[in-house]
Subunit: 251 residues, 2 copies
């Protein structure tokens, strides 16, 4: 558990005027929803966008905040989380480059969002984006698909939180990271782990200590190696996958 530095400031996306370059050269263009737009549509979208930076640990949005802005993540990692009154925290997901931040239909965020390390966003006014969504059915469809993918991931995580052992959870976490940020289809992968042990714990429904012990265990077994604190080499992704799915001899 982790009381966290939730020294909530104003709780709203603050817009900085900056807007670097055109959408056509954007690094996450292919990964983000913009991928479904034509060049002329992209140009219209560019007109209602602006860039914005959040530093390590900054709160980006509050739960239940009524917000007029949504965004694409250009770089960095965001944690989405919920809190209980006494400070218990559950991370409901992480956003990486190319992911969409914000409620797509309702005006309210369902979770808090905080920057894990420095984050760069491409921000849109929600009303204007919704106008575009009304005008371009393929854009709405794409956002619908994103929501569906997010839901599928949430259901998988419910299985993890409700029924998996600590060892299976940690293995699942690394597999998830490899699938989402690592090179595709590599039998072994060197991945960045931008979040703290305590964030990992809050994502897995465990304590920091248990996460640490399980990682040590994996190192001893030789399934992972750690060149540095926030770098991890998954030496046997297939075995990790088996543990994650609970097929192997339990623990």
């Amino acid at each position: 558990m982790n009381m966290g530095n939730v020294a909530v400031e104003q709780g709203c996306l603050r817009v900085t005027p900056l807007s670097s370059g055109r959408c056509t050269v954007c690094g996450v263009r292919e990964a983000a929803f913009c991928a479904v737009l034509s060049p002329s549509e992209l140009q219209q979208l560019h007109a209602i966008s602006s860039h914005k930076i959040f530093e390590q640990g900054e709160l980006i949005v509050e739960e239940d905040a009524t917000v007029r802005q949504v965004a694409n993540v250009l770089g960095g990692t965001i944690k989405l989380f919920k809190l209980l009154p006494d400070g218990r925290q559950q991370i409901t997901g992480f956003l990486f480059a190319g992911d969409f931040l914000g409620p797509m239909l309702s005006g309210e965020y369902a979770t808090f969002a905080e920057a894990v390390g420095r984050v760069e966003l491409c921000v849109f006014d929600q009303d204007r984006l919704r106008e575009r969504m009304d005008a371009w059915p393929h854009l709405e469809r794409r956002l619908f698909e994103d929501a569906t993918a997010t839901l599928d991931r949430a259901l998988d995580w419910m299985l993890l939180l409700g029924r998996k052992t600590a060892g299976e959870r940690v293995a699942s976490f690394f597999v998830m990271l490899a699938d989402r940020v690592g090179p595709k289809d590599e039998p072994q992968a060197l991945i960045e782990v931008p979040m703290s042990r305590s964030d990992i714990a809050d994502y897995l429904g465990l304590t920091m200590e248990t996460v640490s012990r399980q990682i040590s265990q994996l190192k001893r077994t030789g399934l992972v190696r750690a060149p540095s604190q926030h770098m991890l080499e998954l030496t046997d992704l297939a075995a990790l996958r088996r543990i994650a799915e609970g097929s192997d001899e339990r623990r």
Copy 2:
């Protein structure tokens, strides 16, 4: 945990020819997505629909099954769940009258679906429904909204599964039931609990025994009364809500 009667049969919605009455007199019309359709649209929808019954414990769909059909729940309760290879089960949600069953965009179900008691469905061919969705933006929007609501509920449940105590989970469960199937805004409610203790446990990430002990505890405290096994009277919904949210003295 619960190995369940997953004696998977053919795993597909089987269509019976029956089709009782017109949509205009349908009992769940206002609750289901059909509510956004005009009379003439409703008539077109009716042309591609058929009714179907599943008995207690019948498997309605398998996880990852590629299915050509989706449905509205007309009556009864459906449990949606995931399994680990060794039989550990996590229920990801329940569907009640008016709810939509099926993947809205992809062709694959993310979970198993099983009838809790007798279930009546209004079944649609998925391709035909998608045609309607393409033709009627307000229908797509409505299904998008449903998906968003389902996602929000899943996020709340992640907090429950990751961070709440057994007592808080059981209280949350009853509050959820009251909110979804009970009369609205009643300070106390008499609700039907169609699912078994073991299903409740698989929804809450607990064992049957722990659920049973927690319910006994609530009875002793006087917060609930049980006229029968599957009937529950929530005598102090506000207090239950407080426990569910973890604000009260823990446990």
